[in-house]
Amino acid sequence: EDQVTQSPEALRLQEGESSSLNCSYTVSGLRGLFWYRQDPGKGPEFLFTLYSAGEEKEKERLKATLTKKESFLHITAPKPEDSATYLCAVPRSASKIIFGSGTRLSIRP
């Protein structure tokens, strides 16, 4: 069965303390892996798409990487405004996307 699993469920960091979030997936024939950011009380906001193992994408303090079995979202020297829930997702078909349950990231000043 197609599945997306994110870990950890929650992560609390000090401002400036770098870390990584994990997304592992089991789908047949990966057509891409997507990362989203969701602020409390709002809908998710698209960040990145990764298509093949070895690919990397960057945006400000975030860098997403992809292997054949998992993706990492690395956050370097985070700031309090990076606090959010980060979701990863994969397409199961041309129109259906499966989302993980997310990692709740909290950055303390």
Binding site: R31, G41, G43, P44, F46, A94, I97, G100
Partner: protein, 114 residues
């Protein structure tokens, strides 16, 4: 700026009531989606539509129906609301899901069924 607008941010309904959740997008997107989001379960797809009057069931369609009479509007209907439908409902739209994975989400409608 692209926008997906959900008509109600917060609703409180009683068991057995009929509930309409409206969603409008201004990006001329073909695809529109309804998800529900529950703690620990992530986003689960209820229904999606790839064209006017076209719809397909997602993973959890039971107890829901949808309507897409115009390209920009996608409605989610709960024919007879139940307490287990208390949730955050998110509408999204996209041009080409398969190619980019870029869904544009509304701000969500938090429904409480008493």
């Amino acid at each position: 700026d692209v926008k997906v607008t959900q008509s109600s941010r917060y609703l409180v309904k009683r068991t057995g009531e009929k509930v309409f959740l409206e969603c409008v997008q201004d990006m001329d997107h073909e695809n529109m989606f309804w998800y529900r989001q529950d703690p620990g379960l992530g986003l689960r797809l209820i229904y999606f539509s790839y064209d006017v009057k076209m719809k397909e069931k997602g993973d959890i369609p039971e107890g829901y129906s949808v309507s897409r009479e115009k390209k920009e509007r996608f409605s989610l209907i709960l024919e007879s609301a139940s307490t287990n439908q208390t949730s955050m409902y998110l509408c999204a739209s996209s041009k080409q899901v398969a190619n980019t994975g870029e869904l544009f989400f509304g701000e969500g409608s938090r429904l409480t069924v008493l």
